[in-house]
């Protein structure tokens, strides 16, 4: 390799400090929906790229659910070959800008980074985002020459699982159509994750890349009800179908008063605000009245999003109510940190027991109880136990619950796909369902998880789909691994995957 002349980097020779990323001032950003994390500049990215040791046996690739060749793209950044870096990432992941923002890198690639054993790990997520954003700015897209394989693929749901599966199947030469029930594609990336974390324009840019691969998006299409999975496989002529409809169906609080006006799910709050743009009411027609004192129940990423959205919509106080302690809080550390910076007040070891009304059907307050941690439960976390006699009244006029989701029932109601006892779609380890040619992945199989895990499932299902259709698997996973040569960017094992650089 050309880089061999370069002196080998060691933990002592690399920049010791992780390159900080600029963020909007909490006092300013809490009044708008602009993106909090400003991303790296070129110089910052170059500096951070120097921190990668380019380990001969990198743990980060295996730590990535879609196995991006991380050292290779960082090496390209260091060589100022941003286009090359983009090519490396897109071999495994078409959504660099999205994943660089929303992946829980601390538990994935960055969690196993060798540098992290001594110093702070390489900021892989920030670098990925830098490359993805550069590609959007420069209007790069890697559209391979695709030889039609002659298969028609239907994808149900346009969220991260569906998008990842669609990309791989389109690259394999299939005629791919993605069906979405909402009026816009993107799934949770659009309705769920707020603009200050992932701008809708970034999602649209990534969707545009899929369109360039030939993927068609059909919105306003409720599969199951408009036509069934069975109909897709038979009369509509889809050779294979992927179901990635997400979990949805929010869990209820199940306490007295939880149907009062002013009690709503985080899904509803976020959908109204993000997708329906209630934050711009009345220029957009969807309303979203907000309380002055908003209590958000739960401490996952969705809860953090709900809190930070509430602040931006003008709530005076926003509280997090969580029955466990900070150590068990499932949200990404960065999200909790951002929420704290913006003024969210955390009430750990606190659980709601009743919502109290104002006599007019609205929320006046909430009765809460203090908890303490007992023995570990099935999840390995210490079980919260109520402290007797510790009930107290908590003043608030809006309650948002983000305590998890259950399986969406529509596909189960309308198809013969086998479900597990919790109502999620039953698959084998190849993500094949009980119906031949139908695969499923993402939250509708696993229950609520992360964007990148859903994308990983989408790609895994695509591999199984190719096996099922007897298309030779040429997707990025192996192609991106060391040991397989490329020539002019073409995977040498490949006959129908010549890259053409558009734009």
């Amino acid at each position: 390799m050309a880089k061999a002349v370069k002196k080998k980097k060691t933990i002592r020779s690399i920049p010791q400090q992780r390159t900080p990323v600029r963020e909007l001032d909490p006092q300013v950003r809490v009044k708008n929906f602009e993106e909090v994390n400003c991303g790296y500049s070129l110089n910052e990215a170059l500096n951070e790229a120097e921190r990668c040791l380019l380990c001969p046996e990198p743990g980060c690739i295996a730590g990535c659910p879609v196995n991006i060749n991380i050292p290779k793209f960082i090496e390209a950044i260091a060589a100022k070959d941003l286009r090359g870096a983009y090519d490396v990432i897109t071999a495994s992941n078409l959504l660099a800008s999205v994943c660089g923002r929303v992946c829980p890198q601390e538990t994935q690639c960055e969690g196993v980074c060798i540098v992290g054993e001594t110093l702070e790990p390489v900021a892989i997520g920030r670098l990925e985002r830098f490359v993805g954003d550069t590609a959007i700015k420069e209007k790069w897209s890697n559209v391979p020459y695709i030889e039609p394989a002659g298969y028609k693929i239907g994808i149900v749901g346009s969220g991260p699982a569906g998008m990842a599966c669609a990309a791989d199947m389109a690259k394999a030469g299939c005629d791919v159509t993605v069906f979405e029930a909402f009026h816009q594609a993107g799934g949770v990336l659009k309705y769920g994750i707020p603009d200050f974390r992932l701008p809708n324009s970034v999602v649209d840019a990534e969707i545009e890349n899929l369109r360039k691969l030939g993927v068609k998006f059909e919105c306003n299409t409720l599969v199951g009800r408009l036509f069934t999975i069975e109909q897709m496989r038979t009369e509509l002529g889809y050779d294979a179908v992927f179901v990635g409809t997400g979990a949805g169906y929010p869990s209820m609080l199940g306490i007295p008063g939880d149907s009062l006006n002013g009690v709503l799910s985080a899904n509803e709050l976020l959908t109204r605000c993000n997708l329906m743009r209630a934050k711009e009411f009345p220029n957009f027609d969807t309303p979203l009245p907000l309380g002055k004192r908003v209590a958000v129940i739960g401490a996952g990423n969705t809860a953090m999003d709900a809190m930070r959205v509430s602040l931006r919509l003008g709530a005076e106080k926003v509280y997090c109510i969580y029955r466990r302690s900070r150590a068990e809080c499932p949200a990404r550390a960065e999200e909790v940190h951002h929420a704290e910076q913006e003024g969210v007040e955390f009430n750990w070891l606190t659980a709601p027991v009743e919502v109290l009304d104002d006599g007019k059907g609205n929320v006046r307050a909430m009765r809460c109880i203090r908890m303490e941690l007992g023995e570990p439960d099935d999840s390995g976390r210490r079980r919260p136990v109520p402290v007797k006699g510790s009930e107290f009244e908590f003043e608030c006029d809006q309650i948002v619950f983000a305590i998890g989701t259950n399986a969406n029932p529509i596909i189960g109601q309308t198809s013969h796909l086998r479900l597990n006892k919790r109502g999620y779609i039953d698959t084998d380890e190849t993500l094949a369902t009980s119906m031949a040619g139908v695969f499923a992945g993402g939250d509708i199989v696993t229950g609520a998880a992360t964007v990148i895990e859903a994308m990983g499932a989408g790609r895994k299902a695509a591999r199984s789909m190719k096996t099922y259709l007897r298309i030779r698997d040429s997707s990025g996973d192996q192609a991106g691994q060391p040991g397989f040569g490329t020539f002019l960017g073409i995977d040498l094992r490949e006959r129908n995957f010549a890259r053409i650089r558009a734009a």
Partner: protein, 316 residues
């Protein structure tokens, strides 16, 4: 398969105005016409910055590839649609058919009750029951004679039709609950009553049939966003359970529905809806457009507020 979302949206082929606030839209959507079943609903967005409005499917024609929606102009969006949605124009979005279809088979004698706007969505049920061999008694309620619509369509599929008006200007004087009483007196073997209309009307219907222990199905239309079970905004209390009207319903056992909870939740965005409507009406005035078709009729524009589900007259 043809594209279900052409750039131009979903074309409106025909429209009929039943009154100064009620109108029907016939929308071209062959796949939906093929899939639609009685009891199901759609969600409509009239334009890109609009809100998602759930509307029960009032009719569908599989041969012509159309679905018919009946809309009551009560808020900003539905009044705006009343102004804008003309034959030849398109809806930005329509998705469905949503909800669990109403089971129609196996009933010998049924009463189909529609009040006001509920008259439209009860029609496909009445027709469906008839096609499944049931003896169908229609009970329709309107405020007054000139608001009556689709009576002929009902006569064609009902074995008996009981027309009720609040003022007695046509048919019997009274509410649909009075009509149900007449039906129950005349027939001791009614299997099921299906009632669609304002919540207060459906509550009255359920109260009427409860002493007779006649199974009573009501179709609930709470506030929704996605309509696919994702937001929980449409949750309703059915007995001791919480159900989502969009994916678990919209049909539920009327004797188990907590109507007070439903009506309270329907008032959730009253202030915002009124503000939006006031603002829009003011814009229309500035633009010197007539906000609605017939001014000064005493039903629509004169009272700018939304009809309160508590106060809405039974039967219309």
């Amino acid at each position: 398969m043809t594209e279900t979302t052409p750039a131009a949206g979903f074309r409106i082929l025909a429209r009929e105005d039943f009154s100064d606030v009620t109108y029907s839209l016939v929308v071209h959507h062959p796949l939906m016409a093929k899939a639609a079943q009685p009891g199901q609903f759609v969600i409509v967005m009239s334009h890109e910055s609009g809100e998602r409005i759930p509307l029960t499917i009032a009719d569908f024609d599989r041969k012509k590839g159309t679905v018919t929606l009946v809309v009551q102009a009560v808020g900003k969006s539905t009044k705006e649609m009343q102004q804008v949605c003309q034959p030849g124009t398109s809806l930005y979005g329509i998705v469905g058919p949503m909800g669990v279809p109403s089971p129609l088979a196996g009933k010998k004698k049924v009463v189909c009750v529609g009040g006001g706007l509920g008259v439209a969505p009860i029609y496909p049920q009445a027709r469906g029951f008839k096609e499944n061999g049931a003896y169908v008694i229609g009970v329709l309620g309107f405020r007054t004679k000139n608001l009556v619509f689709w009576a002929d369509k009902f006569r064609a599929c009902c074995d008996e039709l009981i027309l009720c008006t609040d003022d007695g200007s046509v048919g019997m004087k009274g509410f649909v609950s009075d009509g149900i009483k007449v039906a129950i007196e005349g027939h001791k073997d009614i299997d099921e009553v299906v009632a669609i209309g304002p919540p207060i009307m459906m509550k009255a219907c359920a109260d009427t049939t409860r002493p007779h222990a006649i199974k009573t199905i009501v179709s609930l239309n709470p506030i929704m966003v996605d309509g696919t079970g994702m937001c929980g905004g449409c949750r309703v209390k059915i007995g001791n359970e919480v159900k989502f009207a969009c994916v678990d319903g919209p049909d539920f056992d009327g004797h188990k529905v907590d109507f007070n909870d439903l009506m309270m939740r329907l008032r959730r965005y009253k202030e915002e809806e009124k503000a939006a409507l006031d603002r829009w009406s003011e814009n229309c005035r500035i633009m010197q457009q007539k906000p609605t078709v017939v001014p000064g009729n005493g039903t629509g524009e004169s009272s700018l507020g939304l009809p309160d589900p508590f106060e809405e007259a039974m039967g219309g």
